[in-house]
Every structure is written in C-alpha cells, then in structure tokens.
Symmetry: C2
Subunit: 435 residues, 2 copies
Amino acid sequence: LAGGTFSQVRQLLNSLPGAETAHLLESSPPREREILWRLLSQEQETEVLQYLGEEVRVELLRDLPPEELVPLIEDLDTDDLADLLQELPEQVTSQVLAALDAQNRERLEQVMSYPEDTAGGLMNTDVITVRPEITFGVVQRYLRRRGEIPETTDNLLVVNRRNQFIGVLPLTRVLISDPGTTVREAMRTDVEAIPADRPAHDVAKLFERLDLVTAAVVDENGVLVGRITIDDVVDVIREEADHSLMGMAGLDEDEDTFGSVWHTVRRRSLWLGINLLTALAASAVISLFENTLEKVVALAVLMPIVASMGGIAGSQTLTLVIRAMALGQVQEGNTRYLFTKELAVGALNGLLWALVIGATAALWFDDTSLGMIIASAMVLNLVVAAGAGALIPIAMKRMGIDPALAGSVVLTTITDVVGFFAFLGLATILYASLV
Amino acid sequence: LAGGTFSQVRQLLNSLPGAETAHLLESSPPREREILWRLLSQEQETEVLQYLGEEVRVELLRDLPPEELVPLIEDLDTDDLADLLQELPEQVTSQVLAALDAQNRERLEQVMSYPEDTAGGLMNTDVITVRPEITFGVVQRYLRRRGEIPETTDNLLVVNRRNQFIGVLPLTRVLISDPGTTVREAMRTDVEAIPADRPAHDVAKLFERLDLVTAAVVDENGVLVGRITIDDVVDVIREEADHSLMGMAGLDEDEDTFGSVWHTVRRRSLWLGINLLTALAASAVISLFENTLEKVVALAVLMPIVASMGGIAGSQTLTLVIRAMALGQVQEGNTRYLFTKELAVGALNGLLWALVIGATAALWFDDTSLGMIIASAMVLNLVVAAGAGALIPIAMKRMGIDPALAGSVVLTTITDVVGFFAFLGLATILYASLV
C-alpha cells in the first residue's frame, strides 16, 4: 500500500468488497485511514460505512457537513443509524432527521427513543407482518408483489388488528405447507417477543440459549415495534467480551488500536493514576515496618512474593466469578457454595505453595523462622485473595459498580496490603520475640 | 430448590423448557447437579443435552454404559455429537458408532475426520441441495414432499452432478419469484463456500464480517460436505472470548464454575507455581542490592510502586495488541506504527506519573535524590513495559505460543525485573556517588 500511487490504490479499493475495505480502514494508522477514505467514491463510502466499527465510523463522519452526511448514511440499518446519530453533535442530528423522508424519520425516532443497549436500541424496523386469518396462498402472493424480503428474515411476524404481536410464521412453513393453510394454523405461538426495554445483555443470552436468528420486539402494550437480527446480537456478544477483557486492563472496549497518541495517553493515564494510589497504599503499609526491614533486609527481598501470589490467585477467582455472573450462573442459592469452594481452593493452593516458598526461603537465607513467616503469610494472603476475588464482584454488582472495570484494582489493593502487612507484621512479632 | 421434595422438583423441571433446565444444571454445585439430572426423564435428558456446555455434558455422560448413552445422544446435531464422542473413551465411541444407522454413522465419521476447531468440525450434515437446472415450481414441490426443513435454513445449496458447490439459493427468492424461474437464474454465485480445513476462528470472522446466517462447507475438491450455522459460530465467538479473558488469569475457558475443589486446585496450582518462579526471579534481582537496601530502607518502601506501575501499563498494551491480533488488525505494514505509538504512550504516561511519584517520594522522605531516582526508574520501566506489551504477543504468535495464555506471565516478569533493577540500580549508583 505504502509504495503504490493513488490510482493503483484506487484500483485496489475498487476490487475489494465493502467488508474488506472496512477492515483495511480499521487496520490503518490515522493518516493512512484518512487518505484511503478520501479515495473512496461516495457509493463505496456508503457501502463501507455499514461494516465499520462505531468508533472509527464516528471519527470519519464527525466533521462532515450535514448535506454530505445525509446521502452517505440514509441507507444504514435503522439501529446503526440511531447509534451513529447519538454520537454526532445535536445540531447535525436534527438536520439529518429533517432531511429524511417522513417514514424513515418516524422509524428512526422510535429506535432512538430507546437506550442504545436495550432491545429497542438494537432493533431494526424492517418487519414484514401478516394477519392470522389469511391463507398461505395470500401470503405468498403478497410476498411476490412486495418483491423484496429484508436480509436475515426467517420468520414473518403475526400481529392482530391493533398491531400486537401474537406469534411468528417461519418462512420454511410457508414453503412446505399447502396454500390453503391459514397463518393461524401454522404459526408458532411458543415464541415470545422481547420487550423493548430489555437490556441488550439479556437479549444476547436469549438468542444464545434458544439459538434464535431473529426475534420480535414489542412495546409495553405488546405492540410490535421492530425486530432484532442475529448479526446485531453477535456484535453485542463481541462488545461484552471485549468489555470484560479490556476492562480488566482499564481500557475502553471501543479503544481504537490505531488511534492517536494523545488520545490514548489521556484515556489510559487515569487508570495508571488510580493504580499509583493503590501502590502508594501498599508502600504506606510497608513503611510501618521500616525498623524491622532495617534489621532483616531479607524481608525486603522476599516481600513482593507474598503480595504477587495473592494478586494472581485472587484474579483467578475474580475472573471466574465475573464470567459466571455474565453468564447468569451466580444466584442467591449457589453464592455460598461458590464462596466456600473458592476459599477451600485458596487454602489448599496456599498450603501447597507455602511449603515450597517456606522451604526455599529457609534454605536461601539459612533462617527457619523466615521460612515459617513467609509460609504463614502466603496461606493467609491466598485465602483472603480467594474470598476477596469472590465477594468483590458480587458486592460491586449490588452497588451498581461494573466489576469488570473496578474489580481488579480493588482486588490488588487488598492482596498487596494484606500480603505486606501479614508478612512484615508476622516478621516483626517473631523477630521481636527472638531478640 | 433446597427445601422442596423430589416430586415438587420434578414438577418444576417438567414445566421448564430444555434450555432453562440446562442453565439450571450448569448453575448447580456437583451434588445438586447429579440429583437434578437423575430426576429428568429420558426424553427430557435428550432435550437438555443439546443446550448443555461441553464440560458439563461430558461429566454427566462419562459414566453411562453405551446402551443407555445411544438413545440419549443420537438426536444431537452431528457437530455436537462428534465433539462429545471425542471426549468419551475410545471403546464407548466405537460402540456408539456401531449402534447408529448407516447414514448417520457415515455423516458422523465425516465430521469426526476434521479437527474440532475447523470448519469441518463445526459443520452439520443436514443440508438440502438442489440442481441448477430445475425450476422453482419443482423446488417447492420437492420441499413440500420432504415436509421438513432443518432449523436455521436460509439457503438451499446448489450443487452440480459431482456434488460440487456452485452457489446458494436463498429461500426468500423461492418465495418471491415466479414458479417458472430456474435455480440457475436466481441463485447467488457471489457467496463462497468454506474449505473444511479452515480454522474455526477464521470461520467466525467471516460470519461476522459478512453477517452470514449459514455457510456451505466443501472438501479439497469443492464437494459439498456440510453447512455451518450461526448458532455454532456464536459458540465459537463466546469460547474465543472466554479463552482470552480466562487465559489472562491462567484459567481454562472450559473451567466449570461449580466444579469440585480438588479438580480446581489441580488446574490452578500450575499457574501459581509458574508465577512463584517469576516472583523468585524478581526477588533474586532485589537481593543483588541488599547492601543498598540496608543503608536506605526507604527504597524497600517505594520499590513495589515502580514494578507495579510497569505491570499495569504493560498489560494495557498487551491486552490491546492481543485483541487487535484476534481481530486480524495487526499486519506487517502497521506493526511498526503500533509499536512506536505504544512506546510514545508509555513514555508520555511515564513522564506524567514520574513527576507525581517523584515529587511525592521527595516530600515523603525529604530526599530529592530519592525523588529523582524513582522518577527516572518509572519512565524507564513504563517505556520498557509498553515495548514488551507490544512485542511479546507478536513474537509469541510467530513462535506458535498462545499469547493470551503466556503473555501476562512473561510481561510481569519483565516489568518486575526491570522495575526493581532500574530503581535499585540507579539508587546504588547515586547513593554511592553521594557518600
């Protein structure tokens, strides 16, 4: 890419499908991304936009005047368009809305009336509805006259006179059944519609558990307002997974891998600052024992071990519990079992590695007391780590704090403080009694 | 649940759909899980099995004799059945295979001939094929006679006489087109089939990028061997995400949240042992500076700060790069940009927090040299951390090591060793020159 002329690059871009071009843009540093984008024709831009991730999409469109923006984005799916408009300046949004035709505007406003991370925010409004009393012959004539069926349509949605959802009619049943069959006879009523205010997370779990491809969305009166398709659910699953993974490192799941340096520094520095505070807390604990450290310098050599093993063991429990909570596996009835199990695992692993490190320390510094001190501190810290790893996410969820983000900071603070305090405290007591 | 009698529980289980019962089993401690499973009728067990996660499914079925096993599992999807059989003892597998009818056995053996994490291992064999020369009228008569279309079928697959894949026929086109249209006129040939040996990871990326619901799978001669459906792809995405998240903490993505204590201890202790070795390496570095530590005990108080900030900054870069690699965003052309960007971010954040910690340390211990030492060590360690965070996953991938698993251990070893060495080394030089 770097070596080619503009016309060569343009030729290459012409030969790529939209999804590949979008991937190329996302994998490019800012300057190259800008240049590539300018080389695309308006038609290509329209196509590429639907495949771009949200952060990159907003970046490329933020500075366009509304009159250039509207033709580019009016063909996006309603849910993507709604997400995009929520990221653009208020003024641009209203100009875009004004430029759309009445039907599209109404649909868009409906999607935008729900938060982005709910069923309503995920839905598209491209539904095909049928009435229960008509026959398959009529359905098929209607579909032929319509001439087009939206992508990813596996079911027609059956509604009553008041547009309330009453069931789904799989397209496959229309294909295999006699034309005289009525919709009512063949429709499935064991499929529930999703209330528009359902969180996106629950929607994803429902799709996964029932292997759905699409699902109807209804408002509080049971009136059909749209449908959710599996591709948008896949995006939710991917975003949630990214959120857990990136959150553990204090990163935003939308973080642009090739974003600018300044932007990245600002985003990440807060996290480092918070961690500096917790590291200072650990230092404050250590400073309580300066006298002991002065006398036995081996303590300074060994003390990071206790703290770090506690951090590792605790983060195993923390990660496990956060994932189990995301999968909806943690409930009132099994919390106690989970907690007890993790404590037991912590204690057993603590004992095992306490023996190893105790023996190592005793031999290294030729000091049996030192071995006993570090072994005891290790068991204690690993049990505390397991308990903290299990309780922190549960407590944070009750308090409405996101454990994927804040969990690991709180955990390491605890394991550092307890680790240093236990090890140096025990040492102070024991060496004082020996002298 | 705990309070009810068996018959009450059984009544409850009868009222739950299979997917909910499966979720209940997965959320139960081992003993309760065993009891619940026994309370299910054979019919229910068959239904619940298809919704259970692999680890729990294997656990429940491992000890059944083949004659009880076969009726339970013969209705599973081919891909699930293949995965399950690969986990059961060889002897059981061959007995199960022998008990299946010839067609099912042949299909199953075909799926089992591909590794579990390839397109071939993911596929089902329930395809409906049509020839290009027939008309839609014939297609629809054929489908009516067939009477049943497999779940999640959006396309019929078009093959030639040698059963080679040549295109897909969306069911929606059959519905809206004239019965006289031939398959050849209406089929899509812009959709490629997936080679059976393609890794599951690539299959998932393809589904995500092209918003697919199903895709055809072909062997090396282009012969159609099966199809992959989106629900199995969702499982792949979920498993990969779990793998990244759990791998960072040294956990297996299949780890059973409510597994037994012993099992868990064994799984996790190896990881703790590896981390103990790296912590000992850090201690060895500290022990090089015992003399300096003895003279200036404030160094012992502050030294964990430098190491821990390096670990945090490094893991931000590491996590970002691992995710970018999973999304296929890291290529030859942009590695240098990414590396330089992360180094710059590390340096800037290093400078910022070096100033803060330098001033804090100088004030706390009333020692300007100490402030300068910790500030310099901090900048150095954060730059090294950023470089290591970016290079480790790229290097590991080239060597065929999974960075999600081993990356964080190697990283913290480096940031600990460099952090302690830089801080204590600088202190030794500076204080020696002062004395």
